[in-house]
Point group: C2
Chain length 349, copies 2
């Protein structure tokens, strides 16, 4: 039995209490300064407001001010913070981390490194650690198709853990695996991280196809499937440019996660609004007003910057998504011309 | 302008009249002895009974007895017949084919060759041709994510044509491409054919996950995504065993077609019934009684036979689908244990 501290009481952080408890551990769920309302609901015995399912009361709930108590004598930290907040939270946690403590992370996205180049999060987190902890707290990235509400109620889930030293991923997996929450491992951190961040980007385009269908009253499944195939190809190309392997992009972390992200979730919903005729800026503002961050938007900007920085060719769908975000064209034409074969053919619209 | 004869007035054959007409050709749609009711509806100006959309009356409709007239002076034949009937129809058509006439085929599936081994359809069709036509009528396989109802109304569609001599696929593509119906080409006939036939098999499993969700009132998206990723891996492995390339399996013909087939269609619906608790044999009988052939069932049996014949390992999901068809276990347990990582873990159910 270990002590497992989950930092972040959002959807995924809260959901992970289920496998952690069922695997027999002491579990602490720490809420950030933005999670106060969530903890209040959970303390009142009500369902988690984001994922609408109850969280096992055996998880000890800790407030933002109790970071010390949350991490004291803990064996494992799980960072389950949004990409905008994760560096900040890690900096605050540093005084309470000890050498050798594994840091698992569900956060996905990109950032800029010290030289201003686009980087995946694990390198940025590593750089945040003080020299005494750097390379001593093994970082384990968590990916794969995991809707938080299903993890929380122990519906069967396949996930992938990655660490530069795969043995660290195997250790983490042996702590957290349950009969319903099953974990594969890999050493391909870049492949997992790139796939996980990019699936949010391409889910926007899948959502646009669904929105076009809603608008016309008939599905546009053929276009959605063509978008899906092109998305897999572009995720593979970008993952490889970041040092990742193709087999991660066409496995659970890429294809699998893209499939589930294209079925539901905020990125897909944002895309649907665009497909139904709303301007991207209007749709984004409306969603942010009700507290719904669309992580794929920031990730799309980073991915486009990365493509320019590394001179990556053939990312036509990414370019179309960027144009959609800029309001520079109509959705059906932009996406169709980006994913349909036959370059030089007349525009299909 | 060419004369294009489509053999088979089912969903896909009828749908292909749209791009063929819009590309400016004379189009003949020949119905088999099973298509009489369809032709009667079309002649009465009513929508196609299977895909519920109108077919352009500019296509000339021909009855089963008019095969001679259908193929007389025709430039291209498109075989759009179910896998059970395709050899029979080709045999009847042989007297009216001429050397050099391209034969395109939408039919997907497996059969047995003269030595009793499992084979893809193009080799079986080739063997059906008399010596004077063999290797002289270029065979072009058509694949990729094409729902027939969308092709028929010219919603944007990406498709893939394959021929052993890719130039023949390019020729066919240049005849049939329109702004909405766009065609990529490849020389990888085996990769396209294997992917196209197998997507029907694995769509059954995707349907089971949806059925489990219906049964419980909450989606099982995580399991569905894990099934999807495993399906892509197994399609790739089988396609390679048949001499196909991995890039076909992870492109339009594999991943793309699997995505669309998992959204709707008979194979998915059959799987849903199993997921909702119906025995496979009962569900199949009920669907066949209303004339709904589930092509994935026969293809699953062939694929399993192929796996044994060639000693292919690691096809756990295919084995689970075969067990489902045999009624040898309950769906959630069979599929979960086939696709969730962590072999040797306790069964998740």
């Amino acid at each position: 039995m270990a002590v497992i501290t989950i930092l972040g009481a959002g959807a995924m952080g809260s959901a992970l209490t289920t496998p952690a408890l069922r695997a027999g551990h002491e579990v602490r769920l720490w809420g950030t300064w933005l999670d106060g309302d969530i903890l209040a609901e959970l303390r009142a015995g009500r369902p988690h407001p984001r994922i609408k399912v109850p969280i096992d009361p055996a998880a000890r709930l800790l407030d933002a001010a109790e970071l010390d108590a949350a991490l004291s004598d803990s064996d494992v930290a799980i960072l389950a913070i949004s990409s905008e907040g994760v560096i900040d939270v890690l900096e605050r946690a540093v005084p309470f981390l000890r050498s050798g403590m594994p840091i698992l992370m569900t956060t996905k996205g990109f950032g800029h490194d010290a030289t201003g180049r686009v980087s995946l999060l694990p390198a940025l987190l590593e750089a945040t650690l003080p020299p005494a902890l750097r390379k001593r707290c093994p970082l384990v990235a968590m990916g794969g198709p995991c809707k938080a509400n299903e993890v929380a109620v122990a519906r069967p889930t396949a996930t992938l853990y990655a660490s530069a030293d795969e043995a660290e991923a195997v250790n983490a997996a042996s702590l957290l695996a349950t009969p319903a929450y099953r974990i594969a491992t890999t050493a391909d951190v870049a492949g997992l991280e790139a796939s996980a961040a990019l699936k949010n980007v391409y889910a926007i385009a899948l959502g646009v196809a669904d929105g076009l269908g809603e608008l016309g009253g008939e599905p546009w499944h053929n276009l959605k499937a063509a978008i899906f195939a092109q998305a897999v190809a572009e995720i593979t190309r970008i993952a490889q440019a970041l040092g990742g392997r193709a087999d991660s992009a066409i496995g659970l972390a890429g294809v699998g996660d893209l499939e589930v992200t294209g079925l539901s979730g905020r990125n897909k919903l944002f895309g649907m609004r665009i497909g139904q005729g709303e301007a991207a800026s209007t749709a984004l503002a409306a969603m942010e007003e009700v507290g719904q961050t669309v992580e794929g938007v920031a990730a799309a900007r980073f991915a486009a910057e990365l493509a320019r920085e590394r001179d990556l060719a053939g990312l036509d769908l990414l370019a179309a998504i960027e144009a959609l975000l800029d309001g520079a064209g109509e959705p059906a034409g932009l996406l169709g011309d980006a994913v349909l074969p036959g370059r030089g053919a007349p525009a299909w619209t």
